[in-house]
Amino acid sequence: MLLEVKDLQVYYGAIHALHGISFDIAEGEIVTLIGANGAGKSTTLRTISGLIRPRSGQVIYKGEDITFAPAEQIVRKGISQVPEGRKIFAPLTVKENLEMGAYIIKDKAETNRLMERVFKSFPRLKERINQLGGTLSGGEQQMLATGRGMMSKPNLLLLDEPSMGLSPILVQEIFSIIKEINAQGTSILLVEQNAQMALSIAHRAYVLETGSILLSGPAKEIAENPQVKAAYLGV
């Protein structure tokens, strides 16, 4: 297993956000967490990437316990997160944003190579290379955020709501790129509210509700589940 999450318990002060969540991701997989607002999807991601400390439970990455490792160390181990709401560094140019994505890579040539790879996926970014991050449109920002996440050569990419606030066409585009990234060998943990899109590209899926896992299984099965259909797919 690439990543194993065991019985995560997370509290925000007195609020019990995650009630013991366990799941795993295998090498090369796309796994998606779906659920309604406030189900704890983002909290799970933030816990894995080290921004939040769980009260109990374990996060095991490649057999190593990284539960309490600081965020900046976790990136170095090969987990990269594309945060919710893009979180582009607005006063930095597109190029600088991408360079920050490759912060852990010391080799300049390697950075440039990675940047070229990102530009191949997102040609639009190359056109705007010297533009400030804050001046990009929402879709471009999402591209930038995704590209920035790829810059650290992650084994596991955590994507938090990549479709949020984007037009359907852009959503299509982003998801096809996600698939492409996965095809290049990066495992992906995808958190989405847009369950239909997410389930269409994921191998496996977990359904979260108020801090615990309700259902899990192959994406196709989940998509067939009548409960899920009713609640998330709007069918």
Partner: protein
């Protein structure tokens, strides 16, 4: 009970170009006119005196700039008014004082290589002294940051601010103790001699005891050194912040710390680095200040620190060019106030200028509009 709603008169909307909206603007314009009138009248009446004042203001402004840069960088990244910065500046001056007085550090090249060109030797010696001061300041600032500020990073901002005041008080009052720096005013021995030139018809080097002619502008090598080093620092900073990885990381971290951490940026180290850079400039500023105004004391950092902070705010705190421009404005404002209005009012007027500028541009001259609280 029934609520009775009295019909309200519909509010009158003041349009941007109506008379009422213009009252405030007229007030500001009137103030600006009065100031420009005073300045222009004096420029025409005594142009030479005016230029002299501009030069004096420049010298002050450039020293303020060195301190203001540290303030603005630290504020930019941790949003903390680092009140201890002025005291780091003071320590810089004192370190160089001890280096010169006790160990003759500024003369080491001459001691080792007696045949060396004295100009170069003194230059190297002075630079060594400055570097030593900067180093001590850096170590001190990083220690302060680690001990006093870092544990409070997640605490309410005011706690860190009060801690900063506490650190500042501690440095001052500990420095005042007899066996540390003492409360005395200490005459500072300059590492090099002052050379002055006067410009009237051509540039003349002034001999000691010589009085410049009436219509001359006097320039000293100290002024030139201050200007050059400040400009060098400014260029270095621009390079650092825009061209190097750590510089970009600083900007990234100052914008959004959690996301910066997700990129693998060691935010704590970046913050320490920022403190270190700021302290290095404060140390440099301290030495230059002591050279320019050769009498040092333990509380020497309080007012320059405050003025520099005001300069940073004036320019838009967090912005490096802003700090520089703000400092120059402060320097000129003080110099002009002292010459044309009233010296004791110069602090008051410096602050009035600050308040007025903030009223017109609430985030300073170069400041970006404040982000809404998340």
């Amino acid at each position: 009970m029934q609520l009775q709603i009295r019909p309200k008169k519909p509010p009158i909307i003041v349009r941007p170009n109506s008379f009422l909206a213009w009252i405030g603007r007229a007030f500001m314009i009137l103030l600006a006119l009065v100031v420009s009138y005073i300045l222009i009248r004096n420029l025409i009446e005594k142009p030479l005196f005016f230029v002299t004042n501009v030069i004096n203001g420049l010298q002050l402004g450039f020293v303020y700039a060195l301190i203001a840069l540290g303030y603005t960088m630290v504020y930019g990244i941790v949003k903390l008014i680092n009140f201890a910065h002025g005291d780091v500046f003071m320590v810089g001056a004192f370190v160089s004082f001890f280096a010169i007085e006790r160990f003759d550090l500024h003369q080491w090249p001459l001691k080792i290589f007696p045949t060396m060109n004295s100009f170069i030797a003194i230059g190297i010696g002075t630079i060594t002294t400055i570097l030593l001061s900067m180093l001590v300041c850096v170590l001190m600032a990083v220690t302060i940051e680690r001990v006093a500020y870092k544990p409070l990073r997640d605490a309410p901002r005011i706690a860190a601010l009060i801690t900063a005041i506490g650190v500042s008080f501690f440095l001052e009052y500990f420095g005042l103790l007899d066996f540390v720096f003492s409360a005395r005013f200490i005459p500072y021995e300059r590492p090099f001699d002052v050379v002055t030139w006067y410009i009237s018809d051509g540039i003349h080097r002034m001999q000691s005891g010589e009085t410049p002619p009436d219509n001359a502008i006097v320039v000293s090598n100290i002024l030139i050194i201050i200007i050059l080093s400040t400009l060098a620092v400014l260029l270095f900073l621009q390079f650092l912040v825009h061209r190097t990885k750590i510089g970009v990381a600083m900007r990234a971290a100052s914008f959004d710390k959690p996301t910066a951490r997700l990129m693998g940026i060691q935010v704590d180290q970046v913050i320490s680095f920022t403190f270190a850079i700021g302290a290095a400039f404060a140390g440099l500023g301290g030495v230059l200040y002591a050279i320019a105004y050769p009498s040092i004391k333990t509380l020497m950092g309080v007012y320059p620190g405050l003025k520099a902070f005001v300069a940073a705010v004036l320019g838009g705190i967090g912005s490096i060019p802003g700090a520089f421009v703000g400092a120059l404005i402060m320097g000129q404002a003080e110099s002009m106030t002292a010459s044309y209005i009233s010296t004791p009012m110069r602090d008051a007027i410096a602050f009035t200028i600050l308040i007025l500028v903030l009223l017109v541009r609430p985030t300073g001259i170069f400041g970006e509009p404040e982000k809404e609280k998340a």
